[in-house]
Symmetry: C2
Subunit: 150 residues, 2 copies
């Protein structure tokens, strides 16, 4: 599709989309996150075409968010999140929060998240890394940063 590459833009959103923006990628990461680590498990869970799953897994491994770990003498692999990938899950959790809030409807959220640290079922709450207060769309100003020239 000669799909435009976003990575060249001086924008961290665009660059992030170059890593996980293709169709299925976030769902593949979700599966790996919750413990589905093998090709056929993920394929069966998502109903994704095997060809596309191969492409996505390769890309995610290349980008360093997944690692391929052999689990047999034969060439059999499990996929696991790297540190870079574990950090990505925060994006998924914020997506969950939004979907739970705006799309779950009467039935309520399909999955609940219990926070180890406090033992409570909770959602993720984006806060300012400096003052700890909630940080929302209309609560920030944008300034050019050091990497703005390119």
């Amino acid at each position: 599709m000669q799909r435009t590459q976003f990575g060249e833009m001086a924008c961290s959103i665009a660059r992030t989309l170059d890593v996980i923006g293709e169709p299925w990628s976030p769902l593949i990461l979700r599966d790996v996150w919750v413990g589905l680590s093998r090709f056929d498990q993920i394929q069966a869970d998502l109903g994704i075409s095997r060809k596309v799953l191969t492409e996505r897994l390769n890309h995610l491994v290349e980008q360093g968010v997944l690692e391929r770990r052999p689990y047999d003498a034969r060439p059999r692999f499990e996929y696991h999140l790297t540190d870079k990938g574990i950090d990505l899950v925060e994006i998924l959790m914020v997506m969950v929060r939004w979907g739970d809030r705006w799309l779950a409807g009467e039935a309520g959220p399909p999955v609940l998240y219990r926070h180890h640290a406090c033992g409570q079922v909770a959602a993720v709450d984006p806060r300012c890394s400096h003052c700890g207060e909630p940080m929302h769309a209309d609560g920030v100003d944008l300034l050019p940063g050091p990497g703005s020239a390119r």
Copy 2:
């Protein structure tokens, strides 16, 4: 492409992707967020094809994250975030945080965010809505929720 619809899955990530998962959609929302609200502004900024921009804007309006606001006697429109859309920006901010951390490289982040409440340049920090401690991928257990049956 008879592309698979994710929305039927009992998963808030999949449902969220049905709203903003198509190529370009997050970047369109970013543009609207930072104040580019007219068709030609967005088209020029992103270099997106006019056809796809039309489709994406229609979809985002249908999904209730953008609203079309006339600004002239002629049929001229500005696009603005609804409350549902303002809430979505938190997803973008977490993407920015990840991109800044893992993809910005030597040059540093292209854009800085100053938090109104405290006046400091800061990033968004995902915390537990219950106890306020950081909430990371390996710090949560998943439980079936009320909307799990479908």
